[in-house]
Symmetry: C2
Subunit: 348 residues, 2 copies
DNA sequence: GTTAGCACTCGAAAGATTTGAGTGCTAATA
DNA sequence: TATTAGCACTCAAATCTTTCGAGTGCTAAC
């Protein structure tokens, strides 16, 4: 059964009121909206219908109604009008900073501050190709490998070696490594390439193995999805999220960040839509023990096509309108920053 | 008034019982300890004395007694016998890992897992002198500076430049920088040195400024006190720490880490005593809003003399004995790791 | 289709009652 | 003089009771 206009209006009023007050909404409250001109009895009839259809429920017999997940979903998809583009305050939230890491930390912080929810931000994800390798001798037993990958992300690796090398040897290695590896990603490094390099390195092929290991480790590390979080303690502000033990589990997820990465990987790049906004409500969301939460994520893009995610975790009773507009704002700002200065510096 | 032996015994029993049960301890409970052979009435008299002296209080008239801060302090200083050195299980808690950062993160995690309290760990603090600088050209507009400071801590800095340099210029800069800066710490770099370098660099003195800025930034960053935390959510397990708002404030401190650094700076290096253990009880502790917590810290040492701190934050009702022995254990293990492999690699 | 009216439900808040662990004091005892 | 038995007293916590009112569903009238 389709909802007629009046039912939609009433559902919208119920949800909007509930979002504001947090109390179950009764029929009299709704009947008082004077553009409706209906008695509470009529509203009650309509409410009974809406309940039967699964959009709202009563916490107990003699209480008002609150939205179900289905109700929220309908609200977000059909009833909630977003702020007009013009209305959105284009306030500059972000301070420009050089290093990617600091920038994203800042994004997480600003978002938490503006929404009062727990926030998460991932670094942009793209194919990490090697741009430049610099091997230097730190002392007799150790080499330092500095690997710069696409996007100016820099990784260091200390490599212990058995054989003593002189400076000339190190120079040779540098040339060898850069010749073969520049522009390569992890997947490009295959046995064939390794053997070719070993052949050229002659007597030093054992050391090459050690160096290789270091480089692979570093690039692997660069490929790890980095997650920045902020405002996790905001979760404590929302008692509806659950009792202490549930809250605690949630907070642990934010401390670990492990599970969050699964969540964010699912959201990223599902669509080409720019600033793709995704809303998970209650049971919909892919992480365990988060049935009482809603998650809203947005995707930002770098000019080179790399994408990252910013998102918030909060209670189902959440100001979706505000959250969506704040997220849009921030992604626009981020896109802006990235397009204006090509290559914000990264550093791990 | 000095406490006589019997009062000491009774105080010890009260505190030990309270640590175990968390309930106020009544006179009958104590009188049942059969090595005491005293009636509850006698205990009551002694308890009244102990209360007058400020070691214990009643939460309300008809309740048993709980320790005051003064009581805990006396217990920790005089009554609690630590586990015999031999008794301490010398279990190896730490997995060996290469990078300092990962090692310390692991320490924080292990400690949290073993104690069920919130833990904090600082990296060792010492005078960071420059060991080695390597400048390389990434592309026409960017230089990469790699700065290795004492302790194999590596910092990278991307330096944007206006003028185009060829490889020979970069080589010259490398020699210049290393000649002047090797062995220097931040304080050693003064105007005189800068001017001398500028003189030698001739036409490139403007670029030198840019490079300098990058290096100073990097060394500054290396000097920042890094703090690793774990198990912050354990705070939720201890309701005695306070209501939601207090708990929340505490958790925020752990998210920020800012304030924690003040705390840890105070504890570090107060004494030469190896594995110096420090206990702050309730009001004693130097951080605001932590009156209901106790903090226990221990100092570890690297062979070169650098020291760092590991510590835990928990409720005043804490198993001090266990915590102290766990901390001692871990610092011993850490010292061991550092002494066996000189120079665990650091990386920021 | 809408509404006024009414009996009914049930959670939340406030008050009353009971229970028991624990105390302080006093007077007797060793 | 130190210890103890005994007893009246206190008070938090648990449990039950009462009251209150917001909100409902249903019915009959408009």
């Amino acid at each position: 059964m389709e909802l007629d206009e009046r039912k939609k209006t009433i559902l919208k009023l119920i949800i909007a009121t509930y979002l504001e007050t947090g109390e179950p909404v009764g029929s009299r409250t709704i009947s008082k909206f004077n553009d409706l001109n209906l008695s509470s009895a009529t509203i009650r009839n309509e409410m009974a219908d809406l309940e039967e259809l699964g959009y709202i429920v009563q916490p107990h017999t003699s209480a008002g109604r609150i939205p179900t997940d289905k109700g929220y979903r309908f609200y977000v998809d059909n009833l909630m009008e977003e702020k007009e583009e013009a209305e959105v305050e284009k306030s500059t939230l972000l301070e420009r900073v050089d290093r990617m890491e600091l920038l994203l930390k800042q994004v997480a912080k600003v978002l938490a501050y503006n929404t009062n929810y727990a926030t998460l931000v991932t670094a942009p994800k793209y194919r990490k190709t090697i741009k430049f390798i610099q091997l230097s001798k730190v002392d007799e037993e150790t080499l330092l490998a500095v690997i710069v990958v696409e996007g100016n992300l820099i990784k260091n690796q200390i490599i212990p070696i058995d054989t003593i090398l002189d400076n000339e040897d190190v120079l040779k290695f540098n040339i060898l490594l850069n010749t073969f590896l520049q522009g390569a990603s992890l997947e490009d490094i295959n046995l064939e390439m390794i053997n070719a390099m070993k052949k050229q390195s002659g007597e030093y092929s054992v050391i090459l193995d050690q160096i290789f290991q270091g480089i692979v480790d570093a690039v692997n590390e660069a490929n790890e999805l980095e997650i920045y979080t902020s405002g996790a303690t905001n979760i404590l502000k929302y008692p509806e999220i659950g009792d202490i033990s549930k809250t605690s589990e949630l907070l642990e997820k934010f401390e670990d960040k492990e599970e969050l990465s699964h969540l964010l990987e699912e959201t990223t790049g599902n669509k080409d839509d720019s600033h793709y906004i995704q809303v998970y409500i209650g049971e919909e969301n892919p992480v365990q023990n988060m049935e009482d939460c809603s998650i809203v994520t947005a995707t930002y893009k770098m000019p080179e096509g790399a994408t990252g995610t910013i998102g918030i975790v909060g209670p189902k009773r959440m100001d979706y309108k505000k959250v969506v507009s704040t997220l849009k704002n921030l992604t626009i700002e981020l896109d802006d920053i990235f397009s204006k200065r090509k290559g914000v510096n990264e550093d791990g």
